[in-house]
């Protein structure tokens, strides 16, 4: 399978505005992230809040400008595109957002929201617009009768479906899903995940799936990237692969099984997540790592280029 | 911490003050008419005029005039009033106390009464009281000041004879002006207090305070009030300039001196130095108000203290 997406050494540095009294502080929200995503695959990105997952998604879609690195989409170097070219390209790479509640303009009817992609791209759909909209709504499991509703009249799960319909309107090949179910109830989350699975097989979509829920990622994805404070610390080639980075291990142990018979002994409390503004030298996980050594404190481990299962650790398990 | 913060805010005011001073300086040149004309004897010659122009330094370039002016201002040297023929500083010194007393009292009145009303209406959620408050607040923003002043005079001075109609004599002469200015302020402060308290009551931490077993009174005074104070302080601080200069109407009706009246009068007579000095004083008050507001907020709210420093 050819790669639909190739991300190389992507970085983003945020700088807080300094003033006469305060030094400008900067942080790496995303630091040297590289991976490939083959057509038709689903890659999952997990990590704790603030580790840079959403920033990564925005960088890939070039919604924000990276500080370094490269993104190739279907062979095109995205960063070399002019704004106008970029706008056209967007039709092929879409995103579903974490918060369905604010993902639709409150003044737009669902029909108008779903038709907006065509308007924006200047594309005339094959069918009449109303039919096209109805078709899209049906595709995501919504009653086309809802077309005249406003967002505030429908539930969160339904809003998320509208968000997906909008993203799919222009037949993209890549869909970036940024925690699409995080703000939904479990029963609704299951609906949406089911829908995404169906769409993937029906439309041959490629997904970049972002989540903080390891079990969900394991359920949904083919490969998994584990991020910690802006870096990819481990790239699991498949969901069954055993964790080799201590952080991934911690993450897995913190995830409970939905089965009272499989209770586990939770490891005792460990240190705090360091502030991204002043990371310790060396490995960022060092303060919470049981295996930390002097080397870990001085040298940042690189993501091993070892084929298949890459890990950024001096002492992988 | 607070000192440092205050100092930083002060430094930040420098560029702002500079731009304001330029604006003020320019406003005066936008005014039609010429104070020299007011000053010239009728039928006097061009030389007389040139002489006066030179005497007041109006013949130099605007930039030079500006720097001379701002330099003088810095030394507290407000110059000589052209029409009123006395040091501007004297005029300010004469009028400012009136503005400060009136403004201060109105300020005190509207903040205390307003906060009390707002608090009561926020905690006693009674439909009748609610309607009364709404009506009162509405009235406060509805009735033009001069109109209210007239009605107050009619009632308290003419019919009841409790307070003098006008003037700046003893405390009695302050009552009606303070009431007039304070009325709108009371409504404003009451509204802000009420909203802020109701907002604060909805915060999660309040639930937890109740869950700790604290009494409603303790929660109100120890925890909710500080939160309600924040916006009230902001509003009040912003109104310092307002109260000093915005009392013109009231000063006019009650025949009181004050910064506002002085400004209006000087404006009418095109007395540049006085206009400039008055505007500068007001701008200073406004900036001081913002500063006080910011510092007060920062001293009450650790989050602000940190974010802004």
């Amino acid at each position: 399978m050819p790669n639909l997406l190739e991300v190389r050494d992507l970085s983003k540095r945020f700088t807080s505005a300094g003033s006469a009294f305060r030094k400008a502080r900067s942080m790496h929200a995303v630091n040297g992230v590289s991976f490939d995503l083959a057509k038709g695959r689903v890659i999952g990105v997990v990590g704790e809040s603030g580790c840079g997952k959403s920033t990564l998604a925005r960088l890939i879609l070039r919604l924000i400008e990276p500080s370094g690195g490269a993104v190739h989409f279907d062979g095109d170097d995205l960063l070399a595109k002019s704004p106008a070219q970029m706008r056209r390209l967007r039709a092929r790479m879409q995103m579903v957002f974490q918060d369905p509640y604010s993902a639709i303009d409150p003044r737009y009817t669902l029909a108008r929201a779903v038709a907006e992609p065509f308007e924006v791209q200047g594309v005339t759909p094959e069918k009449p617009m109303t039919d096209e909209v109805a078709g899209l709504l049906e595709m995501v499991g919504l009653n086309p009768g809802l077309a005249t509703s406003y967002p505030h009249q429908i539930s969160g799960g339904q809003k998320q479906r509208v968000g997906i319909a909008r993203a799919l309107a222009l037949r993209p090949s890549l869909l970036v899903l940024d925690e699409p179910t995080a703000s939904l109830d479990v029963s609704v989350q299951a609906q949406i995940i089911g829908l995404l699975e169906d769409l993937r097989s029906d439309l041959g979509l490629t997904y970049l799936f972002i989540s903080h829920d390891l079990s969900l990622v394991k359920y949904f994805c083919d490969e998994i990237l584990v991020m910690y404070l802006g870096r990819v610390v481990e790239a699991l080639p498949d969901t069954a692969a055993p964790a080799r980075h201590p952080y991934t291990r911690t993450l897995m142990e913190s995830t409970f099984e939905p089965d009272p018979k499989k209770r586990r002994l939770i490891a005792p409390l460990e240190g705090e997540v360091p502030s991204p503004f002043d990371l310790p030298p060396g490995c960022a996980f060092v303060d919470r790592c049981p295996n930390a050594s002097a080397l870990c404190r001085s040298e940042t481990p690189a993501l091993s280029t070892e084929t298949g299962h890459a890990v950024a650790c001096h002492h992988p398990i | 911490m607070i000192l440092r913060y205050t100092f930083q805010r002060l430094l930040m005011l420098i560029p702002v003050s500079f731009s304001i001073s330029v604006v003020i300086f320019m406003i005066v040149y936008l005014l039609p008419g010429d104070p020299i004309d007011n000053l010239l004897r009728v039928g006097s010659s061009a030389e007389d005029r040139a002489e006066l122009v030179a005497r007041y330094g109006l013949d130099r370039s605007l930039v030079v005039q500006y720097f001379v002016w701002i330099g003088n201002m810095f030394q507290g040297e407000f110059g000589q009033a052209i029409v009123l023929r006395r040091p501007v500083a004297d005029l300010i010194a004469q009028n400012l106390p009136y503005s400060l007393t009136l403004g201060g009292l109105a300020f005190l009145f509207s903040s205390t009464v307003g906060m009390a009303l707002g608090t009561v209406s926020a905690i006693v959620r009674h439909p009748v009281l609610d309607r009364f408050m709404r009506g009162f607040i509405l009235l406060g923003s509805t009735v033009p000041g001069f109109w209210l002043a007239l009605l107050l005079i009619l009632l308290f001075s003419v019919n009841l004879g409790w307070f003098p109609v006008s003037g700046a004599g003893g405390w009695q002469s302050l009552v009606l002006p303070v009431l007039t200015i304070g009325f709108g302020g009371v409504a404003l402060v009451a509204r802000v207090t009420r909203v802020a308290l109701l907002d604060a009551q909805r915060e999660d931490f309040v639930t937890l305070l109740h869950a700790k077993g604290l009494s409603s009174g303790t929660i109100l005074f120890r925890h909710l009030m500080p939160h309600a104070l924040l916006p009230v302080v902001t509003i009040l601080a912003l109104r310092i300039g307002w109260i000093l200069g915005g009392a013109v109407t009231v000063e006019f009706v009650f025949g009181r001196p004050g910064l506002g009246s002085l400004l209006i009068r000087a404006l009418g007579q095109r007395d540049y130095p006085v206009v400039q000095a008055c505007l500068l004083m007001l701008a200073l008050a406004v900036m001081l108000g913002t500063l006080i507001g910011d510092v007060a907020q920062a001293s009450m709210d650790p989050r602000i203290r940190e974010k802004k420093s």
Partner: protein
Amino acid sequence: MAIRSLDAFARMSIGRALSSGIGMVAGGFLILLVLVAVFAPLIAPFDYADQNLMNANAAPGWPHVLGTDEFGRDVLSRVIYGARTSLSVSATAIAISMAAGMTLGAAAGYFGGFFERAVMTVVDLTWSFPDILIALIFVAIIGPGLTSTTFAIAIAYLAQFTRLTRAQIVRLKRETFIEATINLGAKPSHILLKHLMPNAMAPVIVVGMLAIGDGIVLEATLGFFGLGAQPPTPSWGAMMSSGTAQLFLSPWVIIFPGVAVAITVIAVNLFGDELIRSLDIRDRLRGA
């Protein structure tokens, strides 16, 4: 822009505002008032400028229902025509102020950075300065009359609209749907005109509505200083400023326009409150 913005959403809200009891009464009164102002020549029983010195200061009665003033002019007719002046001055001023404030605020909010800081500093200053002083300075610069009153009121309220619009834009810019629309490949103009502005508008329009009330009061105050409408054009403010002595001689000359101002402003406020409630934008008004 204001008319176009009356989309289905806004119509719904106005409908909802009108459907509450208070909202209906207040809204009905305002509509009536506008009609009176527009059709003043048809409604007013007399010419507002016709003097009849022999019948000056006549008490309310017949044919002068609200009495006559010191020139024997019909007070009712003057109050009716005064609605015209007061409403149109205030509404025009607020419209100008709103247009300018929205442009400035949107630009400041959208572009941010130094431009934003510069705009906001200036605008904040005009805000914390007493509005009556701003008005008086303005009148001093361009001279008395309705034009200058209009501009003075417009300037006095500029800050409010600028701040509000900016706050809305800044808030909206962070909303997911904006990012989503950018991600669809939308141009900045599309974002600004189709999403940001329409969404920012609702609270600005409501505040504008409320400001019309304040504008009427400010017009009245300027009238009190003799700086508003020039005689014999009636304006409520000018009529109210006839002085205390008039309260003894012919109180109706002062009382009726005063009552007109009070009722109108109260109606504007009540209706505005109702709109705020039905648009559910109370929180959005607070931030600014």
